[in-house]
Amino acid sequence: MRAPFSTAIAIAVGLVVLLGYFLPIDSLRGVLVNWAVTLAGLAALVAILNLVGVHWRKLRTPKHPDLYSLVFLLAFLATFFVVAYLGPSDPQVQTIVTNIQIPVEATLLGIVAIILTLAALRLFSRRQGLMAWVFLVSVVFFLLLGSGILGFGSGLLPAGMVQFFQALPIAGSRGILLGMALGSLTAGLRILMGTDRPYSG
C-alpha cells in the first residue's frame, strides 16, 4: 500500500470529522477542523514562497529573462514590506491595495464580458446541433424574462406561465446540483476509504 501512515491519518481524521455531524463530539471535530485551517494557512505561505522562487528563477534565466517576473517580484516586495510595516488593516494600505486591485479587476471583468458576448455570437460556428439552439433560445428568452418585458403586468404572458418559466432554471440548476452532490459524496467516500489519495506520503 502506498503511504500507509498518511492514509491511516487521513482516514481517521476524516471519520472523526464525519461522525462529528452525527454524534456529540463537536469539540474534537472543531479541534481537527481548526488544525486543518491552520495547516492550510501555512501551506498558502509555502506556496507563495514557491511562487517567488519560480519568478526569481525565471528572471535569472540566461537566454530570455522574464521581465514580467521582475515586475512581480518588485510588486511582491513592495506589498510585503509596506504591509509588514503598517499592518494589513491600516487604512493607507487598504487604500493603496484597493486603488490598484479594483481597477485592474474591473478591466478584466470588462474583457470577460466582451469575450462572452463574442463567444455567444460564435457559438454556432463551433457547436452545431440541437443543444446549441436550445442554449441560444434559453439565453435570449430568460434574458427577456429577467428584464421584466415578459413579466407580471406586461400582459404578454399569463401570470401562471411567467411563474412556471421563472421556476424552470431553478429546477434545471437543482438537477445539475444533485448530480454534483452525488459526485462529491462518492469523491469524499473514496478519500475516507483510502482508495483515493491526493497525497504521496
Binding site: A44, L108, L116, A119, P198
Partner: protein, 255 residues
C-alpha cells in the same frame, strides 16, 4: 435523531458499501483480464487522450489548472477530482520531454499538486522528471490566478489546457477557444456559472457530474469505476424518491 440525519447516514453507508462491492468486482474483472468498461462515450475525453498523444509527439506541454477551491471549502471535491486526473495525466505523459505544468489558485492545492506530480513520477519510475516549479500557486485572488494561468498557457510551450476544479466567470479568459494560442481546452467545474461560461467559450466543456467521471475515463482505478456505477444507482434512487414523493403529495398522503 431527525429524519434528515437518518437519511444522510443511510445514504453514506449505502454509498460506501456499494463502492466497496463494485471496486472489488472491478478488481476481480481486471485480474481476469476483462478491462473493458461499459461507459457511454464522452467525445471530449477521447479528444483529451488525443491531445495528450499529440503533445507527447510534438514535444509540447499540457497545462492543468486546478481552480481556486480551498481544501477546507465545500468546492473541494472538484479539486480532488482535478488532483486525481492530474496524477493520471502526469503518468500518461511521463514519456514526454515536456512534463505538464500545473497552476492553482489556492496554496494547499498548489502543495498537493506538487505532491501529486512527485507521486506520479515515482509510480511511473521516472522520479527525475519531478520539478517543484511545475506545480505552482498562480495567484491568490480569482483574477490574479486566472491572469497568471493565462500567461503560463501562452508562454510555456503549451498545446492543451485542462481546467478541472472550481472556477468563476473569470475563467472565460482561460478557456476562450478563439484564442489562436489556445488550440485545445477541456473544461469542467462544479460551479454552475463556470459551466455556462465554459459551454460558450471552451472547445470541450463537461457539464454537471461529467466532472466526476474524468478519472474513471482516464482509467485512474477500480474505485473510480465503482464511483460512477454508484452515482448512477443513487441518481435513479433519487429520481424514484422524488417521483414517489410527488405522487404521494398529489393523492394527499403527504403534504
Amino acid at each position: 435523531m431527525s429524519l434528515n440525519i437518518v437519511f444522510s447516514l443511510v445514504l453514506i453507508v449505502l454509498s460506501a458499501v456499494l463502492i466497496l462491492i463494485y471496486t472489488l468486482q472491478r478488481k476481480a474483472q481486471l485480474r481476469r483480464g476483462r478491462s473493458q468498461s461499459t461507459f457511454r462515450t464522452i467525445p471530449a475525453m477521447m479528444r483529451l487522450r488525443r491531445a495528450m498523444g499529440l503533445a507527447v509527439e510534438n514535444g509540447t506541454r499540457l497545462h492543468v489548472s486546478l481552480g481556486k477551491a480551498a481544501i477546507t471549502s465545500p468546492a473541494a471535491p472538484s479539486a480532488l477530482v482535478g488532483l486525481t486526473s492530474l496524477e493520471r495525466i502526469a503518468q500518461m505523459s511521463s514519456v514526454s520531454d515536456a512534463p505538464p505544468v500545473v497552476t492553482s489558485g489556492d496554496g494547499t492545492l498548489a502543495i498537493l499538486s506538487q505532491d501529486t506530480l512527485r507521486a506520479s513520477y515515482r509510480i511511473a519510475n521516472v522520479p527525475e522528471l519531478y520539478d517543484p516549479d511545475r506545480g505552482r500557486l498562480a495567484g491568490a485572488t480569482p483574477f490574479a490566478y486566472t491572469s497568471a494561468a493565462l500567461v503560463v498557457s501562452h508562454d510555456e510551450n503549451v498545446s492543451a489546457n485542462v481546467l478541472i476544479g472550481s472556477f468563476g466567470v473569470e475563467a472565460a479568459l482561460l478557456s476562450d477557444s478563439e484564442d489562436p494560442k489556445n488550440p485545445f481546452t477541456l473544461a469542467a467545474s462544479e460551479s454552475l456559472a463556470a459551466q455556462s461560461v465554459f459551454y460558450a467559450t471552451a472547445k470541450e466543456p463537461l457539464i454537471g457530474e461529467e466532472l466526476f467521471a474524468i478519472p474513471a475515463y482516464l482509467q485512474a482505478g477500480a474505485s473510480h469505476y465503482a464511483s460512477l456505477k454508484v452515482q448512477d444507482i443513487l441518481r435513479w434512487l433519487l429520481i424514484l424518491l422524488m417521483l414517489g414523493g410527488a405522487f404521494l403529495n398529489l393523492i394527499g398522503v403527504i403534504r
